[in-house]
Amino acid sequence: MSTIESINHSLTDNELECIEKSLNRKPNNVELSMIDAQWSEHCSYKSSKSLLKLLPTKGKRVLFGPGYEAGVLDVDNGQVLTMHIESHNHPSAIDPYGGAATGVGGVLRDILSIGTRPIAVLDSLRFGNLSNPNNRWLLQNVVRGIADYGNCVGIPTIGGELSFDSCFDTNCLVDVVSIGVGKKKQLIFSEAKNVGDIFVLLGNSTGRDGIHGSSFASKDLEDIPTDRSAVQIPDPFIKKLIIEGTMDALNTGLVSGLKDLGGGGLACCLSEVSDMGNTGVEVNLEKIHLRESGMEPYEILISESQERMLFIINPDNLDTISKCFDKYNLQYSIIGKVTDTKHVIIINNGDMIVDLPTELIANAPLINWPKTKPKYLDSKSVSKPELPVDIKETLLKVLSSPNLADKSWIFQQYDHEVGTNTIVKPGESGASVIRIAPEKFIAISVDGNPSHCYLDPYNGSAGVVAEAMRNVISVGAEPIAMLDHLQFGNPSNSDVFWTFNETIKSISDFCSYIGIPCVGGKVSFYNEDAKTHEAIKPSPVISVAGLIKGEHNLRTRKLHPSRPLIVMVGETFDELGGSEYYSSIGHSQAGIVPQLNFELEKRAQKLVRDSIKVGLFGAVNDCSKGGLIHSLLQMCTISDMGASIDLSSIPSNCKRWDELLFSESHSRFITTIKKENFTNLLNISRNYDIPVSIIGSIGGHDLQVYNKDDKLLSYDLDYIRSYVYDSLSKFMDGRI
């Protein structure tokens, strides 16, 4: 029995009362630690669970959605695609290298624990402005952490996104997406379903690392422990061995259940497998392979030591399974068994120290926080800035934002080629593409837009889903599923909770309308400045997966002389609120955010998908941050080919050049086409009632912008590449 008098925990009086009532007694300290871990926001989703139910989760390819280790999609021929998203925001703020690396480790474990092999990783990162050296330190070490981990474990990091805003100064966001592939018949679940099965704990020894990690993620950074226990040490080498050992074990067909140990450690793992299996568990603590001697039982139970998996197997199969682990010299211990008690029972050297009904631990009471619409939303300005005098200077200013910069400083540190299946690589499009079988490919994107979401949570959030879908469509894919990661401030702040509610509503509304299911996600609260309690801007991050059949359907941003005409699909509106343009001219708190017209978006997406299928389009790129001019330049710089466009031919009611160039309206794409195919495209587009217009042509080595016959500007591509789009590497290499 633990001799500690008082345990640090975050349970409210209400929650403590609830526990006592259910048990008919006071819980002891060890039991309290277990419940504290499982009832933390990070593990229980108590503030968000009821709202998350609004998200649509069914789809024709969906086999398993939220509530499982990863989302599972049927991608034909007995093959499944799994996908999951994780974050390590709080750990990365204090130990960016270890926090980011273990974030990658965590998401890989989820993909592995449902029985599939992880095949790719993407990252979504947000930091404060790079002029602050602390943010450069964070970015540098987060990228190094993700690189060292992903590269060593041999899984390609194939894409991602990065943006900067002062609201992330003390709360960086580090999100990691992973996808995996496997066989439908080899899927395995985190359930202790057979009474008599035994638990084999595989991997790292359990130590004092990461204690209170999940409740740490559920607090403001001001309350971080001053001792080292919140830090988690990454070990990608052992992870690689665990992946191989696990895949070998799964291939025997003799594993009954599998779960990784993540937030809340063994405590959460045991209660969840017991809950999923509708059984009980009994574990002997002294059997667990430990790193340090003298650990208290509660420490063993809530430790978040990395790289541990729980196998549930029939005891007759132990010999066969353990051979899979012995090959790689992996440590493991047989720690307990599945019972029919529907309780979680922990025994330590013969003494029963925990006896809790599974139903109690696994079901934290939900919290319904109050909501109030933030006042700033009703009082924000819709004023427009004055038209700048100098178009050339304005263009350079906007494009020099690190948000729009070339990201090769980052992705060249990631091995994106290992596996020999990365077909569309970082920088070649807004989504990445990985081959999963001959002539079968998966497209995957990850996007976010806190500026839009701050000024208009409803349109901003749905807009992120639309952008992520457009990116996947632009590589020739049909979107099949999405993941959401909802990152907000403190839920007890009624403004924050109102915004959270709006975000879920909007994402649900749009996904239901357009027919894309949500197969998984995460919620991360408590992202606010420790001293001022100012919350981060609402930061939903969305990842969309798409399916491509046939090499001939693949597309990228790359221009080619055989398709010389540049076509604008969709209409540009005067809605620059939250745009990169307004941000770069100091007008960031004003304006109307791009409104997402659900119906228009659906038609535009279908038009582009169908046009790609009949071979009309060459290069395809979606228009979003930075406006159509940035979208066009992305295509030019990666192809090393110039282009010339005429603003007067852009489908739009906008009168000003800055609105035309920099508006971030939804439902737009830039594509290239052969001259003889344009009539065909025009006819198809009339069926969808989406405007298409030839706005220019490729050629030369300059970007030229005209308004009818007036040449407004001309820039050499090399200049743009070397002096404009290089702001990220300039900051990080210390040249600014």
Partner: protein, 88 residues
């Protein structure tokens, strides 16, 4: 006699002993024990940054080195410790 001399200061950046050291563990298990050097019971890997510092005396040099460590974050105090050693 000048009052400013140069001192060699070594900053030994070590992983905190209570934290895991995967690199040390691999060297112990897969290199030393596997090749029968079984009289080694523990390995941990550290880094040395050597500075030549102009200062009044050794203590002054060490103080200067401490300031550099803290301000420029040469090590992350959450995961590593830094021992400062110096010679004339």
């Amino acid at each position: 006699m000048t009052t400013v001399s140069e001192f060699k200061i070594d900053l030994l950046i070590s992983p905190k002993p209570e934290l895991r050291n995967p690199e040390g563990d691999t060297i112990l298990q897969d290199l030393l024990l596997r090749n029968n050097f079984d009289y080694v019971t523990s390995v941990s890997v550290s880094k040395v940054i050597q500075l030549i510092v102009k200062a009044d005396d050794l203590d002054d040099a060490k103080n200067k080195a401490t300031i550099i460590c803290d301000e420029l974050r040469l090590y992350n105090p959450l995961v590593s410790s830094c021992t400062i050693r110096g010679t004339e």
